[in-house]
Amino acid sequence: MSVGTTMNSQPVSLETGSASMVSIARRQRLQDVFFHRITQSFSLLVLVALMGIIVSLFINAWPAFQKFGVNFIWYVEWDIINEEFGAAIAIVGTLASAGIALLIAVPLAFGIALFLTETCPAWLRRPLGTAVELLAAVPSIIYGMFGLFVFAPLFADYAQVPLQNVLGGMPLIGFLFGGSTNGFGILAAGIVLAFMVLPFVAAVMRDVFEIVPPILRESAYGLGCTTWEVVRKIVLPYTQKGVVGGVMLGLGRALGETMAVTFVIGNANRMPTSLFSPGTSIASTLANEFGEAADFHISALFALGFLLFVITFIVLGLAKWMLVRAEKAKGL
C-alpha cells in the first residue's frame, strides 16, 4: 500500500525536477523497493521455517498417526518394546505441570509488577526490577539442578510428607496427595516451572503497567480511588492485552520447557494418579528418548512433537480469541 503511494507521487517530482533531481529520485525509489523486498523476504523466511517444521514433523510422525489414528492422542500407553504408543500420559503431564506453574506464577508476578509500578519506593525500583530480569536470564538447566539437588529434598520432607499427613485422608481431594513422597512428581515440576516463568511474566507485566498514562492514574487518585481501585479500574483494563500476552509467554515457556522438567518430574511413562506421582512431559520424553530411538519409536516421538506444536497453537489461539471477545464486550 505504502509502496503504491510513493510510486504514484514520483511522476510529479519527475516533471518539476532537474536532471540530477530525477536521478536522485530514481535512486531513492529503487532503494525503497529494494528495502521493501529485503524486509519482506526476511519475514517470509519465518513463515517458510514454520511451514517446514510443521511439514517435516508431520511427515516423520505419519507412520504413528497411520497406525493409531486419532486414538494416539488419548491412548494411555507408552510401551517401547511392544511398540504400543499413546500421547495421553505425556500430554497430561505437560498440561498439568504447566497449569500448576501458571497457577503459582501469575498471582506472584502480578503482585511483583504491581509493587514495582505502584507502591515501590523509587530507590528500590531499579535494583528489584533488575533482579527480576536477571532471574529470567538464568539458563533452564540451572533451575533443573536447583530443583533436583536443593528443592526436591526439601519439598519431600517439608511439603509432601506434611501435606500427605494432613490432606491425604480427606475425601474428594485426598487422592491428590497420595503416592510416594520422594520429591519427584507433577507438583514438584510445576513449582520449579513456576520459578522459571515467574520472571518472564513479572517483567512483561511491569513493562505494560508502566505504559499507563500518568494522567489517567493521577485523575483516578484525584477522585479518591484507593491503589487497588486504580489497579482494578484503570491499570488492568488499559493493559489487558499486554498482561494476557505476558501470561501466554510464560505458558509457552512452561509447555515447552525440557531440562528443568526432566530433572524433577520423575520421567515415568505412567498416567499420574496424584500430584505427587511421577509423570513425564512431551518435551522431556523427546529429550530423553530421541538418542536411542529406532524405527517406529522415532515416528511416535515425532508425533508427540507435532502434538506439542498443536497444543501450543491452540493455547495461543484461545488467548487471542478471548482477547477479541473481551474487547467486543467492551464495545471497542
Binding site: 507408552w78 510401551d79 517401547i80 518394546i81 511392544n82 533436583l148 539437588f149 526436591a152 529434598p153 519431600a156 503416592g179 510416594s180 520422594n182 520429591g183 519427584f184 526432566t262 520423575g266 520421567n267 515415568a268 511413562n269 505412567r270 511421577p278 513425564t280 522431556s284 529429550a287 530423553n288 528418548e289 538418542g291 536411542e292 530411538a293 529406532a294
Partner: protein
C-alpha cells in the same frame, strides 16, 4: 583485481593441498555409538595419538545411533552395547567383536549398611523392580539377609529415563532370572517400568544422583559410577549360587566362562554367566565393521587401533574400572574375525 584473484587461487590451492596431505598422513579413524565404553575409547585414542599420530574421532551418540551410522557408512566402525544378531550381520555384510567388558550394579540408598552388606538373588531383585516387593523389610529380603535390621522403608526404583545399553543389559539379566519379568516386561534399551514407585534419571549420572538423593532408592548403574560416587551396592547371587561383589575380577571371571564363538558374531549374552566368581550382570561392548569396507585404508587403520588397544590398553582400561579382554580371546578375534575383513 587480477592479482587479487591469483592470490586467492594460490591460497585455495595451498589449503586444498594441506588438507589432502593431512588426509594422507594422519587419516583420523571415525567411529560412533555406545556411550558406555566412551571413556575408555577416549583414553585409548589419546594415548594412541601420542604414539602413532593417528587420531580417533569417536562420537558417543548411543548404541542405536552407532548402528545407524555404520549402516549409513558415515563411520569406519560402529559401537553397540547390545550385540547385533548373526542374521543381521550376515545381511549387512558386517563382522562384530567385543572390545571391552564392564558390569552393571544394583545400587541402593539405605543408612546403616556397608557396601555389599546386603544380599539379593536375581528373582527377588526382579520382584523389587516389578513392584511386587515395595518395602525394604519384606519377608523375602529378610530371609536373604538374616540378622540384618532392614528398615520399614518404601523402595523407590530408579531407572534410566533415556534409552541405553545399560538398561538393555540390566533387563537382559532380569529376563534371564525371572519368568515373571520376561512375561510382563522383557528386555530392551528402554522398557515400560512396572513398579508404581519408579522414577527415571537421565544417564548413569542421573540415576546415581537420584539414588543418592532418595532414601530407600534402588537403581542400577555402570560399575565405574559406583566407584566414582562411592555408592552403596548389593551383593548379587550368581548362576552358581554364590554371592559376589562387583569388581574387575568378577567381570573377568564372567568373561572367561563365556563361550564366545557359540553364537555367530560373538553376540553372546554374558548375563547370569556360570562360574563361582562371576558377576551375573557382566557385559561386553561390541564393535561393528564391514567385511568389504569402502575405504580399505581407514578400515585397516581402525583394526590397527584395536590391535594396539588390546595389546597396550589393558592398564588404561583397568584405571577406568573396565576389564580388558583376555589375551586368549583377543588372539581368536584377530585370527577368526579380523581375517574376514578385506584388506
Amino acid at each position: 583485481m587480477n592479482t587479487k584473484r591469483t592470490l586467492l587461487k594460490t591460497v585455495a590451492a595451498a589449503a586444498l593441498a594441506t588438507m589432502a596431505m593431512g588426509n594422507a598422513f594422519a587419516a583420523d579413524i571415525t567411529g560412533a555409538g555406545a556411550t558406555f565404553p566412551f571413556p575408555v575409547y577416549a583414553k585409548w585414542a589419546e594415548a594412541y595419538k601420542k604414539e602413532t599420530g593417528t587420531g580417533l574421532n569417536y562420537q558417543s551418540i548411543g548404541s542405536s545411533g552407532g548402528l545407524k551410522q555404520i549402516r549409513a557408512k558415515t563411520v569406519t566402525f560402529g559401537a553397540s552395547d547390545a550385540p547385533v544378531s548373526g542374521a543381521d550381520l550376515e545381511k549387512d555384510g558386517m563382522i562384530q567383536f567385543p572390545a571391552i567388558i564392564g558390569g552393571t550394579v544394583p545400587v541402593i540408598n539405605l543408612d546403616g549398611f556397608k557396601p555389599g552388606e546386603l544380599r539379593v538373588t536375581g528373582p527377588v531383585l526382579a520382584d523389587m523392580f516389578l513392584g511386587n516387593i515395595t518395602k525394604w523389610n519384606d519377608a523375602k529380603l529378610v530371609a536373604l539377609n538374616p540378622g540384618k535390621a532392614l528398615p520399614d522403608a518404601s523402595i523407590t526404583i530408579v531407572h534410566r529415563a533415556d534409552g541405553s545399553g545399560t538398561t538393555f543389559n540390566w533387563t537382559d539379566y532380569l529376563t534371564a532370572v525371572s519368568k515373571d519379568w520376561a512375561d510382563k516386561v522383557g528386555k530392551g534399551a528402554a522398557v515400560k517400568w512396572p513398579a508404581a514407585s519408579s522414577v527415571g534419571g537421565k544417564g548413569n549420572e542421573g540415576v546415581a544422583a537420584n539414588v543418592n538423593r532418595v532414601k530407600g532408592a534402588l537403581g542400577y548403574v555402570e560399575y565405574a559410577y559406583v566407584k566414582k560416587n562411592k555408592m552403596n551396592f548389593m551383593q548379587l547371587q550368581n548362576a552358581d549360587g554364590k554371592y559376589v561383589s562387583p569388581d574387575d575380577t568378577a567381570f573377568a571371571a564372567a568373561a572367561a566362562s563365556a563361550d564366545w564363538f557359540s553364537v555367530p558374531g560373538m553376540g553372546i549374552s554374558m548375563v547370569n554367566a556360570k562360574g563361582a566368581a562371576s558377576w551375573p550382570v557382566s557385559t561386553a561392548s561390541f564393535i561393528l565393521m564391514y567385511k568389504q569396507p569402502e575405504d580399505k585404508v581407514a578400515s585397516a587403520e581402525a583394526l590397527k587401533f584395536f590391535d594396539w588397544a588390546f595389546k597396550s590398553g589393558k592398564q588404561m582400561a583397568a584405571d577406568l574400572d573396565y576389564v580388558a579382554l583376555p589375551d586368549s580371546l583377543t588372539d581368536q578375534i584377530r585370527s577368526k574375525v579380523w581375517s574376514q575383513i578385506a584388506k
